[in-house]
């Protein structure tokens, strides 16, 4: 895991090249504290900062083949590099190093861009093909590793994080108003758009080929589901559970490959517990596990975390997220998410990666992805109940089921059946709408646009983020089962755009920690997509097949536990006795007016309301966190105090060659 950057084009004078590549590398130094280097090529260049995990002594980058015929800068891991290396050697190729990087170079040399089909990994990379004068960029299937790019004149610049691109002369940070509207609708910009106007991300499962004056971007893999009327090959549940278990075990085994110890995050829920159990079985008595505990009982899961850690016999460490902690780290969090966010949930994960670093590890397995792949989220159950209610619109009985979905939302549980039905749009949402499953969330989130300034509203006039999202759905989407449609919306958009980025890579890499996600092994993703919907969401029991597959791995209490969504305290983190100066400043009329995005008078009332009592509504909390993070984004990236990336809190010691 690492950070990298580079360029291709004639837009730089020679003397500029090396200093710029060094600045770009330094901007993403947190991603790779172990080593740093640049490669100045003819009309192109690459830079790299390394987090040494595989091939500790001989995996330096940028790495070249045949004295610069091919040069690579690579972030991530090719987990099946051992098998690929054996196959390459069997063909007579000579590999000099023990790294996966060299395997990737040789595989590209053999197969060109088709090499992507053979990779099982989480990666973003750039390969300079000197003979063809071609830059080849690619990103992993699910969007674990980031890759951003922008074009100035005829020159392409690319990097692991936007902050490296902001080092390029002529690239200025400016908020893309449409991205902001998308965030305030869908929680994420719709890639390739980013929060930065003119800066794009390469989408998950896509490659980019750049030759003299020409850029071609195309998908090499996409998430897809069987037609509704197609017969599934999975008719026997037990056989399917066994196949799942074998795939997940292998996915975990591959992800334990490293020349340094690999730990695991443990939330106390089913998914991370399953992964920890599998990993503990393969690394007896040496597995380190890490958890976040909250002071607020509503969010805390430490009793479950301790139960699993004890049952598995792991060396367990916990970081407490107490009152004031979220506010303390939040400006740093936004410096790394590089986009406004509507929830504070990334902040505790920022603290958690610092704990891992402090304990001397740099790789962790996580349970992320299981909720997308095996239908764990409440939104899937909610959509099923909404369809159930819509079949009998006047029913006074059916809407009571909504209460079962959200036992942790007291405001909802006190409502009458008629109100429950109204909140979930059972009379108004068309079940033919491709976004049906997400309509209540989109409505509740979009209501926060109430705080947009008149100028911003004028810019956005006539624009509808949900229409754009709907226009991006594949042609076969209408033929899928409703659960699969909902899974696609989560897995294709929210997963890379929020979960794997703002809550994932960016929070872990802020402290030089690499997350690995067995549930997102593409073999498992493809397998799960072909499972009948009822094996995933059985009635209103989520991830049924995963529970079956993990039966003998975990204590019964964990196995039978209903999913508790991972949440952190939102607006109340920022108000009260320890209110920070930066919050007051960011929410001040002066700064709001200067930023131009929000209506100062309305935000002032919202801020005042939040100081009187904790905001309880979804919209008000989303608005508060969204406005504050947007203001911090402006301050960080467009303000006078634009800072190059620095190590956030912990210092990076002499970690080379561990």
């Amino acid at each position: 895991m690492c950070g990298f950057g580079g360029y291709f084009g004639s837009g730089l004078v020679d003397a500029e090249v090396k200093p710029l590549l060094e600045r770009m590398a330094s901007a993403v130094a947190h991603r790779g504290p172990d080593e740093r280097d640049v490669a100045v090529l003819a009309g192109a260049g690459l830079c790299h900062t390394r987090l040494a995990i595989v091939g500790l002594t001989d995996g330096q980058q940028p790495m070249s083949l045949d004295n610069g015929r091919l040069v690579i800068a690579f972030n991530g891991e090719i987990f099946n590099y051992v098998e690929l290396r054996d196959a390459l050697r069997a063909k007579g190729r000579v590999l000099r190093t023990s790294s996966d990087t060299e395997v990737l170079l040789h595989l590209y040399d053999e197969k060109g861009p088709d090499c992507l089909a053979e990779l099982n990994g989480d990666f973003a990379f750039a390969i300079w093909d000197a003979g063809r004068r071609r830059m080849f960029l690619a990103r992993d299937r699910m969007g674990v590793r980031p890759l951003f790019h922008t074009t100035v004149g005829d020159t392409l610049f690319f990097a692991s994080e936007v902050k490296a691109l902001l080092q390029v002369p002529g690239v200025e940070a400016e908020m893309d108003p449409f991205a902001l509207d998308q965030i305030f609708t869908l929680w994420t910009p719709i890639a390739p758009r980013t929060a930065f106007k003119g800066i794009h991300e390469l989408e998950p499962g896509h490659m980019m080929l750049v030759e003299e004056g020409r850029q071609a971007i195309r998908p090499y893999w996409s998430l897809c589901f069987p037609d509704l009327d197609a017969r599934s090959r999975h008719t026997d549940e037990r056989a399917a559970a066994e196949e799942l278990r074998a795939l997940l075990t292998d996915a975990t085994r591959l992800r334990l490959r490293a020349d340094v110890p690999v730990g695991a995050y443990l939330s106390g829920g089913l998914d991370s517990s399953v992964i920890s159990a599998l990993a503990a079985g393969m690394t007896p008595e040496t597995l380190h596990t890490f958890s976040v505990a909250f002071d607020s009982a509503e969010h805390d899961e430490s009793a479950f975390q301790e139960e699993v850690a004890t049952a598995l016999g792991t060396m367990h460490a916990t970081v407490r997220c107490g009152e004031g902690d979220i506010a303390t780290v939040f400006p740093d969090v936004i410096r790394f998410t590089e986009r406004p966010i509507l929830r504070t949930a990334p902040a505790p994960l920022f603290k958690l990666s610092a704990l891992v670093r402090e304990k001397g590890l740099k790789v962790v397995l996580t349970g992320e992805g299981a909720d997308e792949v095996f239908a764990g989220y409440d939104i899937f159950k909610e959509a099923r109940v909404r369809r159930f209610c819509a079949r009998q619109p006047g029913s006074r009985i059916r809407p009571h089921l909504f209460r079962k979905l959200y036992p942790y939302l007291p405001g909802l549980n006190r409502q009458s059946a008629a109100y429950l039905a109204a909140f979930f749009g059972t009379g108004t949402d068309s079940s033919e709408d491709p976004l049906f499953s997400h309509k209540p969330r989109i409505r509740a989130t979009g209501a926060a646009k109430l705080f947009f300034s008149a100028d911003l509203r004028a810019t956005l006039a006539g624009y509808d983020a949900t229409e754009e999202l709907a226009s991006r759905l594949p042609a076969e989407f209408p033929r899928w089962h409703p659960l699969h449609q909902a899974q696609y919306l989560e897995g294709r958009f929210l997963l890379p755009g929020y979960i794997l980025s703002s809550q994932g890579d960016r929070m872990a890499m802020a402290h030089g920690i690499e997350g690995r996600f067995p549930f997102l092994d593409h073999r498992l993703v493809e397998f799960a997509a072909t499972l009948p919907p009822e094996m995933k969401l059985k009635g209103l029991v989520e991830k049924h097949i995963l529970r079956e597959a993990a039966r003998d791995l975990l204590p019964e209490t964990i196995l039978r536990r209903t999913k508790q969504p991972y949440r952190a305290p939102d607006s109340q983190s920022f108000t009260g006795a320890g209110e920070k100066d930066y919050v007051r400043e960011a929410m001040s009329v002066k700064k709001l007016a200067a930023g131009g995005l929000f209506n100062p008078a309305s935000v002032t009332k919202l801020f005042a309301k939040s100081r009187q009592q904790p905001l309880s509504g979804f919209r008000d909390n989303a608005a508060f966190v969204g406005i504050l993070s947007s203001q911090l984004w402006l301050e960080t990236f467009t303000g006078s105090r634009l800072r190059a990336s620095q190590a956030p809190s912990s210092s990076f010691g002499d970690r080379n060659g561990r």
Binding site: L409, G411, A422, F423, A444
Partner: protein, 90 residues
């Protein structure tokens, strides 16, 4: 009577749920839910306001969209309730 109830409720909604944003024209029959003005906790705030401001109490079974989901419905509910109270005390 109904008009002054409506004005009072409208002012509360604009201040409390729209945070003073007067650019949104809140029609007398507009649904508060479908226009994304209130959510599940907002309903309870609205009930508390109606009870405290107009001196009525709402039973759980009365907390339904038919009584609360627009200015006109709220005004009709409050009028009916206060009329009843007035005739009882007359």
């Amino acid at each position: 009577m109904a008009d002054s109830i409506k004005d009072t409720v409208r002012a509360f909604i604009v201040e409390n749920f729209l945070f003073g944003d007067t650019s949104f024209q809140l029609g007398d029959d507009a649904s508060l839910i479908e226009n994304d003005i209130i959510d599940s906790t907002g309903v309870l705030e609205l009930v508390a306001f109606v009870e405290e401001r107009f001196g009525v109490t709402m039973a759980d079974a009365e907390i339904v969209p038919a009584n609360l989901d627009s200015l006109n419905r709220i005004a009709a509910f409050v009028s009916a309730r206060t009329d009843k109270k007035a005739s009882l005390t007359a």
